[in-house]
Amino acid sequence: MNDMSRLDKTVTNTTKISAKNVNVYYGDTHAIKDVNVEIEDNTVTAFIGPSGCGKSTFLRCLNRMNDTIDICRVTGEILLDGEDIYDKRVDPVQLRAKVGMVFQKPNPFPKSIYDNVAYGPRIHGLARNKADLDEIVEKSLRRGAIWDEVKDRLHAPGTGLSGGQQQRLCIARAVATEPEVLLMDEPCSALDPIATAQVEELIDELRASYSVVIVTHSMQQAARVSQKTAFFHLGNLVEFGNTGQIFTNPEDPRTESYITGRIG
């Protein structure tokens, strides 16, 4: 990956994902109601809102993880670089290689640290030989800010790491397939404050190369790591804008009451 060229991009970022009139239903439950949002490249976008408001649901629409839920139905349009990801011709597997995901609970494979990271490149044929693969693994682990901690025990099981290390390993694993977008669903909710700080720092670094979307229930976290914030409430996207503006000068009264702690 050629991240140097990405770094010196102009501040006005291009749109990476644009969602238009997205509705999601779980059977009869209307979980996401007519959401329109533009997610920019090289930006951390935070989704906040009270629990059950549909943040995860919407996030999972962006890489079609919802396809695995039988009763889930999505309508509307989600464009990635101008292409509708729900088009019939799109293979969700190909999409997920482009749009990586990190989950709430660290979920490394019960395999070695090396194999965890190498798995994605292997199935996508990104490495031509062992040396290539070694390089990808090292680069990804460095990008996951965990290389120094694990470089001496790459063949130890990934499940033997601490929670924070596991989550950074999962980030490294997601990064290894060279995605363009990284989705993170409450990546710090299972971590202690120190591990959280490390992951947050990492997210900030990742912004240089990816478009990052993070779901969080912590408003402080959203304020710390994101440039854009979307506030969801009962399936509606209530407000979307620059993080600074949302937290200091929200337009919608529901946003204001949420960030001041009156609904939650």
Binding site: N63, M65, T68, D70, R96, N107, F109, P110, Y119, A174
Partner: protein
């Protein structure tokens, strides 16, 4: 126990006393609760003791009755292979030698018995026919087989170890006594006297009998020659069929149902029916096998292939149920992780879920196989019981298609026969069967322990 009725009574006063009373003395309710707990533990221990006693009784009975089958009484004799009886023309032509039936060997055995008794100087009023009567009816056949193998030995004197007939064997094992043979045509008190003398002389001795483990079943008159080995081969071939069919079909069905199939009424019905199938009595599968595999498809009667097919039907639900449980036990986060890095559903299942479920699948398979190995009822209906095979199969096709029995069916067959010598063999067969089953279950337990949840 009504806890509500005993509301705490406020205690107003005594210094140092909390309102609930002192912790150092047990109040009535605590005593009652502790007593109930003690009683419950008592019941539990009693239940375990009863279980252990039953197990102990079972094991001691089986061992005490069955170990006899592993030992057999042999008579060692020097037999002169007379040319005049075996090869009158003297040209060692194998075709001519084969024309001599076992009947023609009887004089040699009689002669050998007589000379042995004479050489030892034992006084006996028995006729030569009665002397030879101590030997198994198998002896002549054994002699004939040897001569056909080694025609050059004709004219020589060769030492043989013959099986003693089952009454002599029973006498040495304590099953037969002088009282018990009063009405027995097969043996007389005089013969037992001779047996005592020959035992003292070391001609008759009881030793370990490998042929019981590797040999074939024998006809009603020769219990001493019967072995379980051939039916063991029958069981082995059936297990191969079961393994080759039930494991792939069962695992494929489970993976499809668990990971790929949409959850709708159709899969619900399938699911319910698989559970029902697991509860169907095995004899039903037997009659199904008779109707479908033998009467309709015209596969041979008594063939391990058919037995294997029937047992496959029986084992499939067990394997499917345990495989699905093993797949369910793999946390969904592993599937999410794989899908999240762009693995396809199938890659996620085969690269990640299946390896994690493998120990559980194997455990279920082994337990299914163990059940199938011990199953008798369906085999009765497809003719795998009775005196069937006297030779071990030589090829795989033979093993699958030639009529054979199976271990539990063989045991049933022996237990059914009149001669008490067979009864002892039935117990011996049970020991062997149990060794197999316990080994398989132990492997299953070890597998389960070894690979228990590593995530």
């Amino acid at each position: 126990m009504t806890d509500i009725s005993q509301s705490p009574t406020p205690m107003g006063g005594a210094a140092g006393q909390t309102k609930g009373g002192s912790l150092l003395t047990q109040n009535a309710r605590t005593r009652k609760r502790n007593a109930a707990e003690m009683r419950f533990r008592g019941y539990g221990i009693a239940a375990i003791v009863v279980g252990l006693i039953m197990l102990l009784v079972l094991v001691t009975t089986i061992v005490s009755r069955g170990t006899g089958a592993f030992q057999q009484t042999f008579i060692t004799l020097d037999v002169e292979l007379l040319e005049s009886k075996l090869d009158k023309k003297g040209n060692r032509d194998l075709d001519d030698i084969k024309k001599v039936t076992t009947f023609g060997y009887a004089p040699l055995i009689k002669g050998a018995m007589e000379s042995t008794v004479d050489a030892l100087g034992i006084e006996t009023g028995l006729k030569s026919k009665e002397l030879a009567g101590l030997l198994s009816k198998d002896a002549a056949a054994q002699l004939r087989a040897y001569v056909i193998e080694n025609p050059d030995q004709i004219g020589q004197t060769v030492e043989f170890r013959f099986l003693a007939q089952s009454r002599v064997d029973g006498y040495l094992k304590g099953r037969v006594s002088r009282d018990s043979i009063e009405n027995d045509k097969n043996i007389s008190a005089g013969q037992l006297d001779l047996v005592d003398a020959l035992v003292a002389a070391g001609v008759i001795e009881k030793t370990f009998n490998l042929d019981f483990i590797i040999g074939a079943d024998a006809s009603d008159q020769r219990p001493e020659a019967a072995g379980i080995g051939v039916s063991m081969m029958g069981s082995l071939f059936m297990m191969l069929v079961v393994l080759a069919l039930a494991l792939p079909i069962g695992v494929a069905a489970s993976i499809y149902l668990e990971e790929f199939a949409p959850k709708n009424w159709l899969t619900d019905i399938i699911e319910v029916n698989i559970s029902n199938l697991a509860a169907v009595p095995s004899i039903v599968f037997g009659i199904l096998g008779l109707a479908v595999f033998i009467n309709y498809m015209h596969l041979p009667m008594s063939a391990p292939l058919v037995g294997g097919l029937v047992l496959t039907l029986m084992t499939l639900p067990t394997i499917i149920i345990s495989t699905r449980a093993a797949l369910k036990a793999v946390p969904p986060s592993i599937r999410d992780a794989a899908l999240g890095v762009g693995a396809s559903k199938m890659q996620a299942v085969f690269h990640h879920v299946l390896p994690l479920a493998a120990p559980g699948i194997l455990t279920g398979t082994i337990i299914g196989l163990a059940q199938a190995l011990g199953e008798t009822a369906p085999l009765l209906l497809i003719g795998m019981v009775g005196f069937i095979a006297s030779n071990a199969p030589e090829t795989i096709a033979d093993g699958l298609l030639a009529p054979n029995s199976a271990m539990p069916a063989q045991i049933y067959e022996w237990a059914k026969r009149a001669d008490p010598a067979f009864y002892e063999r039935a117990w011996g067969g049970i020991i062997i069967l149990l060794v197999f089953l316990v080994t398989m279950n132990t492997v299953a337990v070890i597998l389960r322990r070894r690979f228990e949840r590593r995530w």
